[in-house]
Symmetry: C2
Subunit: 213 residues, 2 copies
């Protein structure tokens, strides 16, 4: 599962009601085009697909106010909100070693209670540790790991990634526990969307060096 559904649901939800281009713009504002597969096609596809599945409600809307083809506005349904929360909780908990899923979840974590986020992240640490154990046990030949030759570097790489991932998560838990950020039910939330008339300070210019994807 990629991060696209979570991103799109979260973006629409923050607006209350949004059309595709708006979502596309928000995701760009968040830098999501750099670290996730948030291409136009994927976004519009996700919107349509989720509308078909009843997670979003599609309003037919008049021609755009600012050029371009007529646009459809979407709204998150109740079922969509449930799905959103499920995806969000799952993305915070599970270790699936795709950075985009965790990144998306970090952007939305404040939609949950502080206490719940802490629990989910603790669970994440446990999941990573379990995964690490499974990998090392599964992938260690009887005659010792030297038998693997350079193939052992693959396992070494996974294990290192798991360890640093756990370490980073512990740091995040620490920061949240000591009061960082504003979570659900704690006063006026941090809003990360662009207003209709606001220009995007991070608008895509040329791509950045090192974008290997």
């Amino acid at each position: 599962m990629s991060a696209i559904r979570l991103l799109v649901l979260g973006a629409v939800r923050q607006h209350g009601r949004a059309h595709g281009y708006q979502v596309r713009n928000d995701l760009e504002y968040w830098g999501a085009h750099e670290w996730s597969n948030a291409k136009p096609g994927s976004i519009y596809h996700a919107l349509k697909q989720m509308a078909k599945q009843g997670l979003l409600h599609a309003h037919e809307i008049a021609p755009s106010t600012a050029g371009g083809p007529p646009r459809t506005e979407y709204e998150v349904t109740e079922k969509g909100t449930e799905e959103y929360l499920t995806l969000l909780r799952g993305s915070l908990t599970a270790y699936d070693q795709r950075p985009d899923v965790l990144s998306a979840a970090l952007g939305f974590m404040v939609d949950l209670d502080r206490e719940e986020v802490l629990e989910l992240l603790e669970e994440r640490v446990l999941a990573i540790e379990e995964w690490r154990k499974a990998v090392t046990e599964y992938y260690t030949p009887e005659d010792g790991p030297e038998q693997l030759g350079h193939i052992g570097e693959i396992m070494n790489f996974w294990v290192t990634s798991a360890d640093t991932g756990a370490q980073w998560t512990r740091g995040l838990i620490e920061r949240i526990r000591s009061g960082a950020y504003v979570f659900s039910g704690e006063g006026n939330p941090f809003v990360g969307v662009l207003a209709d008339d606001e220009e995007n300070p991070y608008a895509t210019g040329e791509s950045h060096p090192g974008d290997a994807r």
Copy 2:
């Protein structure tokens, strides 16, 4: 770009000539089904696609010797070898933060010279550092990073990943420089394929805990 083409080309190449099921088995032997999208469908698709593109040559072959439908054997063409080396070099160099690509490349790095691998990995470190710089510059508001609120955790996560990725790469360079592993042109290579009659000691049983994908 996913790792599937590199994996399939590399697997076929190590056999000289292989059918889909053999490739599938090798990848499982390497644990690739755990950390890459090496599902049967993807493998067979990649084989056909690359045959169509002239990277592989497809031999029509008699019915299987051991049950099942008739099988097609593939062989890497000259063009395929070129593509393979290009993919391999690119995957060692570029930082695209998908662990599967690097994992696959690690498995095949010994097809290159020791010196070249060291150069490619040095380049990788540089690419990571450049990427890190681009990210921090691009994503730091004028009023200081505190303005980002919890969104800053996303950037923090990328940057941390980049740093540990660079650190790990430096460790690998060190190990290779001090003589670890057997590279191209250094005597009998380490072979990581299953012979026809050999059984897979890591055959898929049930899945492992923490397999979130």
